[in-house]
Symmetry: C2
Protein backbone atom coordinates (compact mmCIF):
# COMPACT_ATOMS: atom_id res chain seq x y z
CA UNK A 1 0.00 0.00 0.00
CA UNK A 2 1.58 3.26 -1.18
CA UNK A 3 0.56 5.90 1.26
CA UNK A 4 3.61 7.85 2.30
CA UNK A 5 2.74 11.16 3.87
CA UNK A 6 4.40 14.15 2.25
CA UNK A 7 4.27 17.88 2.06
CA UNK A 8 2.01 18.99 -0.77
CA UNK A 9 3.78 19.68 -4.04
CA UNK A 10 2.90 22.87 -5.86
CA UNK A 11 0.47 21.24 -8.26
CA UNK A 12 -1.46 19.67 -5.40
CA UNK A 13 -1.44 22.98 -3.57
CA UNK A 14 -3.12 24.61 -6.53
CA UNK A 15 -5.79 21.95 -6.70
CA UNK A 16 -6.43 22.08 -2.98
CA UNK A 17 -6.80 25.86 -2.96
CA UNK A 18 -9.66 25.53 -5.44
CA UNK A 19 -11.53 22.97 -3.34
CA UNK A 20 -14.77 24.41 -1.91
CA UNK A 21 -13.67 24.01 1.67
CA UNK A 22 -10.59 26.17 0.98
CA UNK A 23 -11.85 28.49 -1.72
CA UNK A 24 -14.20 30.39 0.59
CA UNK A 25 -11.48 31.21 3.14
CA UNK A 26 -9.86 34.58 3.55
CA UNK A 27 -6.11 34.80 2.94
CA UNK A 28 -4.83 34.13 6.43
CA UNK A 29 -7.34 31.37 7.15
CA UNK A 30 -6.32 29.83 3.85
CA UNK A 31 -2.66 29.92 4.82
CA UNK A 32 -3.41 28.43 8.16
CA UNK A 33 -5.32 25.55 6.64
CA UNK A 34 -2.78 24.97 3.88
CA UNK A 35 -0.12 24.64 6.55
CA UNK A 36 -2.12 21.90 8.22
CA UNK A 37 -2.48 19.87 5.02
CA UNK A 38 -0.26 16.97 4.11
CA UNK A 39 -0.44 14.77 1.02
CA UNK A 40 -1.05 11.06 0.79
CA UNK A 41 -1.79 8.74 -2.10
CA UNK A 42 -3.33 5.32 -2.47
CA UNK A 43 -3.66 2.70 -5.15
CA UNK A 44 -7.03 1.58 -6.44
CA UNK A 45 -8.85 -0.72 -3.98
CA UNK A 46 -6.71 0.37 -1.06
CA UNK A 47 -8.71 0.85 2.12
CA UNK A 48 -8.20 4.32 3.62
CA UNK A 49 -9.97 3.47 6.84
CA UNK A 50 -12.64 1.20 8.20
CA UNK A 51 -15.78 1.77 10.20
CA UNK A 52 -14.99 1.74 13.89
CA UNK A 53 -11.31 2.66 13.62
CA UNK A 54 -10.02 5.58 15.65
CA UNK A 55 -10.37 8.74 13.56
CA UNK A 56 -7.57 11.25 13.64
CA UNK A 57 -7.69 12.84 10.19
CA UNK A 58 -10.15 13.92 7.55
CA UNK A 59 -9.48 14.14 3.83
CA UNK A 60 -9.93 16.25 0.74
CA UNK A 61 -9.66 14.54 -2.64
CA UNK A 62 -7.08 16.02 -5.01
CA UNK A 63 -7.35 13.46 -7.80
CA UNK A 64 -9.23 10.22 -8.33
CA UNK A 65 -12.35 8.97 -6.58
CA UNK A 66 -13.02 7.60 -3.13
CA UNK A 67 -15.89 5.37 -2.14
CA UNK A 68 -17.56 5.74 1.27
CA UNK A 69 -19.58 2.67 2.14
CA UNK A 70 -21.05 0.49 4.84
CA UNK A 71 -21.15 -3.26 5.28
CA UNK A 72 -23.98 -5.32 6.65
CA UNK A 73 -23.18 -8.38 8.68
CA UNK A 74 -23.33 -10.67 5.62
CA UNK A 75 -20.56 -8.61 4.03
CA UNK A 76 -22.74 -6.86 1.44
CA UNK A 77 -21.63 -3.34 0.67
CA UNK A 78 -23.68 -0.20 0.13
CA UNK A 79 -22.13 3.01 -1.09
CA UNK A 80 -23.04 6.12 0.85
CA UNK A 81 -21.14 8.70 -1.15
CA UNK A 82 -18.58 8.93 -3.94
CA UNK A 83 -16.04 11.71 -3.46
CA UNK A 84 -14.22 13.25 -6.40
CA UNK A 85 -11.61 15.98 -6.79
CA UNK A 86 -12.25 18.95 -4.51
CA UNK A 87 -14.59 17.04 -2.21
CA UNK A 88 -13.80 16.40 1.42
CA UNK A 89 -15.02 13.62 3.66
CA UNK A 90 -14.99 12.58 7.32
CA UNK A 91 -14.93 16.25 8.33
CA UNK A 92 -18.13 15.52 10.22
CA UNK A 93 -15.97 13.79 12.83
CA UNK A 94 -14.52 17.13 13.86
CA UNK A 95 -17.25 17.42 16.43
CA UNK A 96 -18.32 13.86 16.91
CA UNK A 97 -17.25 10.56 18.36
CA UNK A 98 -13.71 9.31 18.09
CA UNK A 99 -14.31 6.65 15.42
CA UNK A 100 -14.89 6.53 11.68
CA UNK A 101 -18.48 5.67 10.93
CA UNK A 102 -18.06 4.13 7.51
CA UNK A 103 -15.42 2.54 5.32
CA UNK A 104 -13.43 4.46 2.73
CA UNK A 105 -11.78 2.86 -0.27
CA UNK A 106 -9.86 4.28 -3.20
CA UNK A 107 -11.87 3.51 -6.34
CA UNK A 108 -8.71 4.08 -8.39
CA UNK A 109 -5.31 5.66 -7.80
CA UNK A 110 -5.96 8.74 -5.68
CA UNK A 111 -4.09 11.59 -4.10
CA UNK A 112 -5.56 13.22 -1.04
CA UNK A 113 -4.93 16.09 1.31
CA UNK A 114 -4.92 15.00 4.93
CA UNK A 115 -5.98 17.20 7.84
CA UNK A 116 -5.46 16.44 11.50
CA UNK A 117 -8.89 16.62 13.13
CA UNK A 118 -7.65 18.04 16.42
CA UNK A 119 -5.59 20.77 14.74
CA UNK A 120 -8.44 21.85 12.46
CA UNK A 121 -10.81 21.84 15.41
CA UNK A 122 -8.46 24.17 17.23
CA UNK A 123 -8.09 26.36 14.17
CA UNK A 124 -11.87 26.60 13.80
CA UNK A 125 -12.18 27.77 17.40
CA UNK A 126 -9.88 30.69 16.64
CA UNK A 127 -10.82 31.59 13.11
CA UNK A 128 -14.43 32.19 12.15
CA UNK A 129 -13.62 31.82 8.49
CA UNK A 130 -12.61 28.24 9.06
CA UNK A 131 -15.64 27.49 11.17
CA UNK A 132 -17.91 28.98 8.53
CA UNK A 133 -16.28 26.98 5.79
CA UNK A 134 -16.74 23.77 7.76
CA UNK A 135 -20.38 24.60 8.37
CA UNK A 136 -20.89 25.19 4.67
CA UNK A 137 -19.30 21.89 3.88
CA UNK A 138 -21.39 20.04 6.46
CA UNK A 139 -24.58 21.74 5.30
CA UNK A 140 -23.83 20.89 1.68
CA UNK A 141 -23.15 17.26 2.45
CA UNK A 142 -26.23 17.06 4.59
CA UNK A 143 -28.45 18.27 1.77
CA UNK A 144 -26.71 16.01 -0.73
CA UNK A 145 -27.32 12.96 1.40
CA UNK A 146 -30.91 14.03 2.06
CA UNK A 147 -31.37 14.24 -1.71
CA UNK A 148 -30.00 10.76 -1.88
CA UNK A 149 -32.55 9.39 0.59
CA UNK A 150 -35.40 11.09 -1.24
CA UNK A 151 -34.18 9.85 -4.62
CA UNK A 152 -33.74 6.30 -3.38
CA UNK A 153 -37.26 6.31 -2.05
CA UNK A 154 -38.97 8.07 -4.96
CA UNK A 155 -37.17 7.14 -8.15
CA UNK A 156 -36.76 4.00 -10.22
CA UNK A 157 -33.45 3.01 -11.75
CA UNK A 158 -33.97 4.77 -15.11
CA UNK A 159 -35.14 7.89 -13.28
CA UNK A 160 -32.05 7.94 -11.10
CA UNK A 161 -29.81 7.62 -14.12
CA UNK A 162 -31.71 10.33 -15.98
CA UNK A 163 -31.44 12.53 -12.91
CA UNK A 164 -27.70 11.95 -12.74
CA UNK A 165 -27.25 12.75 -16.40
CA UNK A 166 -29.29 15.94 -16.15
CA UNK A 167 -27.21 17.06 -13.19
CA UNK A 168 -24.08 16.51 -15.20
CA UNK A 169 -24.84 18.19 -18.46
CA UNK A 170 -24.82 21.91 -19.21
CA UNK A 171 -28.06 23.67 -18.26
CA UNK A 172 -30.22 25.06 -21.03
CA UNK A 173 -28.91 22.79 -23.72
CA UNK A 174 -31.03 20.72 -26.07
CA UNK A 175 -28.51 17.93 -26.52
CA UNK A 176 -25.31 17.01 -24.76
CA UNK A 177 -22.56 14.45 -24.51
CA UNK A 178 -21.02 13.40 -21.23
CA UNK A 179 -17.94 11.43 -20.35
CA UNK A 180 -18.29 9.50 -17.12
CA UNK A 181 -15.42 10.37 -14.80
CA UNK A 182 -15.33 6.84 -13.38
CA UNK A 183 -16.35 3.26 -14.03
CA UNK A 184 -19.97 2.37 -14.53
CA UNK A 185 -19.86 0.01 -11.59
CA UNK A 186 -18.98 2.98 -9.41
CA UNK A 187 -21.89 4.97 -10.79
CA UNK A 188 -24.14 2.02 -10.09
CA UNK A 189 -23.08 2.00 -6.45
CA UNK A 190 -23.50 5.75 -6.18
CA UNK A 191 -27.06 5.44 -7.42
CA UNK A 192 -27.81 2.52 -5.12
CA UNK A 193 -28.04 0.00 -7.95
CA UNK A 194 -26.41 -3.28 -8.87
CA UNK A 195 -24.21 -2.92 -11.98
CA UNK A 196 -26.68 -5.01 -13.96
CA UNK A 197 -29.49 -2.66 -13.04
CA UNK A 198 -27.50 0.32 -14.27
CA UNK A 199 -26.87 -1.44 -17.54
CA UNK A 200 -30.56 -2.14 -17.97
CA UNK A 201 -31.44 1.42 -17.04
CA UNK A 202 -29.20 2.68 -19.83
CA UNK A 203 -30.93 0.33 -22.27
CA UNK A 204 -34.29 1.64 -21.11
CA UNK A 205 -33.11 5.19 -21.73
CA UNK A 206 -32.18 4.36 -25.31
CA UNK A 207 -35.82 4.96 -26.09
CA UNK A 208 -35.38 8.50 -24.76
CA UNK A 209 -32.45 9.22 -27.03
CA UNK A 210 -29.57 8.20 -24.78
CA UNK A 211 -26.67 6.41 -26.46
CA UNK A 212 -23.87 4.82 -24.46
CA UNK A 213 -20.49 3.68 -25.74
CA UNK A 214 -18.00 2.98 -23.01
CA UNK A 215 -17.79 6.05 -20.82
CA UNK A 216 -19.27 8.29 -23.50
CA UNK A 217 -22.91 9.14 -23.21
CA UNK A 218 -24.84 10.96 -25.93
CA UNK A 219 -28.08 12.69 -25.01
CA UNK A 220 -30.07 13.67 -28.07
CA UNK A 221 -32.99 15.32 -26.31
CA UNK A 222 -32.42 16.74 -22.86
CA UNK A 223 -36.08 17.62 -22.46
CA UNK A 224 -37.13 14.06 -23.17
CA UNK A 225 -34.92 12.99 -20.27
CA UNK A 226 -36.67 15.40 -17.95
CA UNK A 227 -39.99 13.65 -18.62
CA UNK A 228 -38.76 10.27 -17.38
Amino acid sequence: MVNKILRLNSRDRNILMKAPIMASLGPQALNRMMDLASAVSFEGRDILFREGEAADVFYCVLSGYVRLYRLNKDGREADIRICGPGENFAECLLYLGPNYRYNAQAAEAVTLARFDLAKVRAAAEQDNDIARSIMQSLANHLLTVMDCVANDRLQTAPQRVAHYLLNNCPKESTSASIRLPFQKSLLAGKLGLAPEALSRAFSALRGAGVTVRGRLIQINDVNALRQI
Copy 2:
Protein backbone atom coordinates in the same frame (compact mmCIF):
# COMPACT_ATOMS: atom_id res chain seq x y z
CA MET B 1 -54.08 27.26 10.79
CA VAL B 2 -53.03 28.20 14.34
CA ASN B 3 -49.54 29.58 14.14
CA LYS B 4 -49.37 32.79 16.08
CA ILE B 5 -45.85 33.75 16.96
CA LEU B 6 -45.26 34.37 20.65
CA ARG B 7 -42.60 34.76 23.23
CA LEU B 8 -41.70 31.44 24.80
CA ASN B 9 -43.52 30.64 28.03
CA SER B 10 -41.46 29.32 30.90
CA ARG B 11 -42.27 25.67 30.29
CA ASP B 12 -41.19 25.94 26.66
CA ARG B 13 -38.03 27.74 27.75
CA ASN B 14 -37.14 24.81 29.97
CA ILE B 15 -37.69 22.34 27.19
CA LEU B 16 -35.70 24.39 24.73
CA MET B 17 -32.75 24.77 27.07
CA LYS B 18 -32.44 20.98 27.22
CA ALA B 19 -32.39 20.59 23.43
CA PRO B 20 -28.97 19.44 22.18
CA ILE B 21 -28.40 22.57 20.15
CA MET B 22 -28.82 24.70 23.28
CA ALA B 23 -27.56 22.36 25.99
CA SER B 24 -23.94 22.53 24.86
CA LEU B 25 -23.78 26.32 24.96
CA GLY B 26 -22.05 28.34 27.63
CA PRO B 27 -24.21 30.69 29.72
CA GLN B 28 -23.95 33.85 27.64
CA ALA B 29 -24.28 32.05 24.31
CA LEU B 30 -27.32 30.32 25.74
CA ASN B 31 -28.88 33.63 26.72
CA ARG B 32 -28.15 35.07 23.33
CA MET B 33 -29.83 32.18 21.56
CA MET B 34 -32.78 32.08 23.95
CA ASP B 35 -33.38 35.74 23.19
CA LEU B 36 -33.58 34.93 19.49
CA ALA B 37 -36.18 32.21 19.96
CA SER B 38 -39.88 32.72 19.50
CA ALA B 39 -42.65 30.16 19.85
CA VAL B 40 -45.09 28.96 17.25
CA SER B 41 -47.57 26.10 17.18
CA PHE B 42 -49.35 24.16 14.48
CA GLU B 43 -52.17 21.69 14.25
CA GLY B 44 -51.67 18.19 12.89
CA ARG B 45 -51.32 18.12 9.08
CA ASP B 46 -50.48 21.80 8.90
CA ILE B 47 -47.71 22.57 6.43
CA LEU B 48 -44.86 24.51 8.05
CA PHE B 49 -43.17 25.25 4.76
CA ARG B 50 -42.79 23.85 1.27
CA GLU B 51 -39.81 22.99 -0.86
CA GLY B 52 -38.75 26.02 -2.84
CA GLU B 53 -40.21 28.66 -0.52
CA ALA B 54 -37.96 31.44 0.70
CA ALA B 55 -36.36 30.32 3.96
CA ASP B 56 -36.04 32.83 6.76
CA VAL B 57 -36.25 30.71 9.90
CA PHE B 58 -35.21 27.33 11.22
CA TYR B 59 -36.96 25.39 13.95
CA CYS B 60 -36.46 23.36 17.08
CA VAL B 61 -39.24 21.01 18.14
CA LEU B 62 -40.57 21.54 21.65
CA SER B 63 -43.43 19.04 21.56
CA GLY B 64 -44.95 16.79 18.95
CA TYR B 65 -43.43 15.49 15.74
CA VAL B 66 -42.61 17.08 12.40
CA ARG B 67 -42.25 15.26 9.11
CA LEU B 68 -39.65 16.41 6.56
CA TYR B 69 -40.40 15.01 3.14
CA ARG B 70 -40.04 15.39 -0.60
CA LEU B 71 -42.51 14.97 -3.42
CA ASN B 72 -41.88 13.48 -6.81
CA LYS B 73 -43.69 14.91 -9.77
CA ASP B 74 -46.53 12.36 -9.49
CA GLY B 75 -47.21 13.65 -5.99
CA ARG B 76 -45.84 10.64 -4.13
CA GLU B 77 -44.22 11.54 -0.81
CA ALA B 78 -41.05 10.22 0.76
CA ASP B 79 -40.07 11.07 4.31
CA ILE B 80 -36.53 12.22 4.82
CA ARG B 81 -36.54 12.70 8.57
CA ILE B 82 -38.93 12.73 11.49
CA CYS B 83 -38.12 15.35 14.11
CA GLY B 84 -39.22 14.97 17.70
CA PRO B 85 -38.84 17.06 20.86
CA GLY B 86 -35.39 18.62 21.17
CA GLU B 87 -34.54 18.13 17.50
CA ASN B 88 -33.93 21.03 15.16
CA PHE B 89 -34.34 21.17 11.41
CA ALA B 90 -33.59 23.45 8.47
CA GLU B 91 -30.56 24.80 10.33
CA CYS B 92 -28.55 23.61 7.34
CA LEU B 93 -29.91 26.62 5.48
CA LEU B 94 -27.87 28.93 7.69
CA TYR B 95 -25.08 28.73 5.15
CA LEU B 96 -26.90 27.68 2.03
CA GLY B 97 -29.27 28.86 -0.62
CA PRO B 98 -32.23 31.04 0.16
CA ASN B 99 -34.93 28.37 -0.21
CA TYR B 100 -36.25 25.43 1.77
CA ARG B 101 -35.18 22.18 0.17
CA TYR B 102 -37.96 19.93 1.43
CA ASN B 103 -41.47 20.13 2.80
CA ALA B 104 -42.24 20.16 6.51
CA GLN B 105 -45.55 19.09 7.98
CA ALA B 106 -46.81 18.76 11.54
CA ALA B 107 -47.56 15.08 12.13
CA GLU B 108 -49.72 16.10 15.07
CA ALA B 109 -50.22 19.22 17.19
CA VAL B 110 -46.75 20.67 17.67
CA THR B 111 -45.05 23.57 19.38
CA LEU B 112 -41.79 24.83 17.96
CA ALA B 113 -39.09 27.32 18.70
CA ARG B 114 -38.39 29.57 15.74
CA PHE B 115 -35.01 31.11 14.97
CA ASP B 116 -34.34 33.79 12.41
CA LEU B 117 -31.64 32.44 10.11
CA ALA B 118 -29.92 35.77 9.55
CA LYS B 119 -29.77 36.58 13.25
CA VAL B 120 -28.38 33.19 14.21
CA ARG B 121 -25.85 33.45 11.40
CA ALA B 122 -24.70 36.77 12.80
CA ALA B 123 -24.59 35.33 16.31
CA ALA B 124 -22.50 32.40 15.13
CA GLU B 125 -19.99 34.78 13.57
CA GLN B 126 -19.45 36.42 16.92
CA ASP B 127 -19.75 33.55 19.33
CA ASN B 128 -17.71 30.39 18.82
CA ASP B 129 -19.94 28.48 21.19
CA ILE B 130 -22.84 28.98 18.86
CA ALA B 131 -20.84 28.06 15.79
CA ARG B 132 -19.61 24.90 17.48
CA SER B 133 -23.09 23.94 18.52
CA ILE B 134 -24.35 24.37 14.97
CA MET B 135 -21.49 22.28 13.63
CA GLN B 136 -22.31 19.54 16.10
CA SER B 137 -25.91 19.62 15.03
CA LEU B 138 -25.03 19.50 11.34
CA ALA B 139 -22.52 16.70 11.86
CA ASN B 140 -25.05 14.69 13.83
CA HIS B 141 -27.72 15.08 11.23
CA LEU B 142 -25.29 14.22 8.49
CA LEU B 143 -24.34 10.95 10.13
CA THR B 144 -27.97 10.16 10.88
CA VAL B 145 -28.98 10.63 7.27
CA MET B 146 -25.96 8.64 6.09
CA ASP B 147 -27.10 5.83 8.36
CA CYS B 148 -30.46 6.14 6.70
CA VAL B 149 -29.02 5.70 3.21
CA ALA B 150 -26.98 2.70 4.29
CA ASN B 151 -29.95 1.12 6.06
CA ASP B 152 -32.25 1.68 3.10
CA ARG B 153 -29.76 0.00 0.81
CA LEU B 154 -28.75 -2.88 3.07
CA GLN B 155 -31.73 -3.85 5.16
CA THR B 156 -35.08 -5.49 4.51
CA ALA B 157 -38.27 -4.27 6.16
CA PRO B 158 -38.10 -6.58 9.20
CA GLN B 159 -34.45 -5.68 9.68
CA ARG B 160 -35.22 -1.98 9.63
CA VAL B 161 -37.92 -2.44 12.22
CA ALA B 162 -35.68 -4.60 14.39
CA HIS B 163 -32.96 -1.97 14.08
CA TYR B 164 -35.37 0.75 15.14
CA LEU B 165 -36.56 -1.24 18.13
CA LEU B 166 -33.02 -1.99 19.25
CA ASN B 167 -32.11 1.67 19.03
CA ASN B 168 -35.07 2.50 21.21
CA CYS B 169 -34.78 0.06 24.04
CA PRO B 170 -32.38 0.19 26.99
CA LYS B 171 -28.95 -1.24 26.21
CA GLU B 172 -27.89 -4.42 27.95
CA SER B 173 -31.37 -5.62 28.66
CA THR B 174 -32.68 -9.08 27.85
CA SER B 175 -36.29 -8.00 27.31
CA ALA B 176 -37.99 -4.66 26.93
CA SER B 177 -41.25 -2.94 26.24
CA ILE B 178 -41.52 0.17 24.14
CA ARG B 179 -44.28 2.65 23.56
CA LEU B 180 -44.14 4.24 20.14
CA PRO B 181 -44.13 8.02 20.48
CA PHE B 182 -46.14 8.46 17.26
CA GLN B 183 -48.46 6.70 14.85
CA LYS B 184 -47.32 3.58 13.06
CA SER B 185 -47.86 5.22 9.71
CA LEU B 186 -45.28 7.81 10.70
CA LEU B 187 -42.82 5.10 11.70
CA ALA B 188 -43.43 3.43 8.35
CA GLY B 189 -42.52 6.61 6.53
CA LYS B 190 -39.46 7.14 8.70
CA LEU B 191 -38.24 3.67 7.78
CA GLY B 192 -39.00 4.16 4.10
CA LEU B 193 -41.88 1.69 4.08
CA ALA B 194 -45.53 1.71 3.16
CA PRO B 195 -47.78 1.29 6.22
CA GLU B 196 -48.76 -2.18 5.01
CA ALA B 197 -45.12 -3.19 4.84
CA LEU B 198 -44.56 -2.08 8.42
CA SER B 199 -47.55 -4.10 9.52
CA ARG B 200 -46.19 -7.17 7.77
CA ALA B 201 -42.74 -6.60 9.22
CA PHE B 202 -44.21 -6.61 12.72
CA SER B 203 -45.97 -9.88 11.94
CA ALA B 204 -42.71 -11.33 10.69
CA LEU B 205 -41.03 -10.30 13.94
CA ARG B 206 -43.62 -12.16 16.01
CA GLY B 207 -41.50 -15.22 15.38
CA ALA B 208 -38.63 -13.41 17.09
CA GLY B 209 -40.65 -12.67 20.19
CA VAL B 210 -42.06 -9.26 19.31
CA THR B 211 -45.64 -8.58 20.36
CA VAL B 212 -47.52 -5.49 19.24
CA ARG B 213 -50.73 -4.08 20.65
CA GLY B 214 -51.49 -0.57 19.55
CA ARG B 215 -48.44 1.56 20.32
CA LEU B 216 -47.12 -0.92 22.88
CA ILE B 217 -44.37 -3.25 21.74
CA GLN B 218 -43.11 -6.15 23.83
CA ILE B 219 -39.70 -7.59 23.07
CA ASN B 220 -39.14 -10.91 24.79
CA ASP B 221 -35.62 -11.58 23.58
CA VAL B 222 -33.49 -8.61 22.64
CA ASN B 223 -30.67 -10.84 21.45
CA ALA B 224 -32.95 -12.69 19.07
CA LEU B 225 -33.76 -9.32 17.49
CA ARG B 226 -30.07 -8.64 16.94
CA GLN B 227 -29.80 -11.78 14.78
CA ILE B 228 -32.43 -10.63 12.27
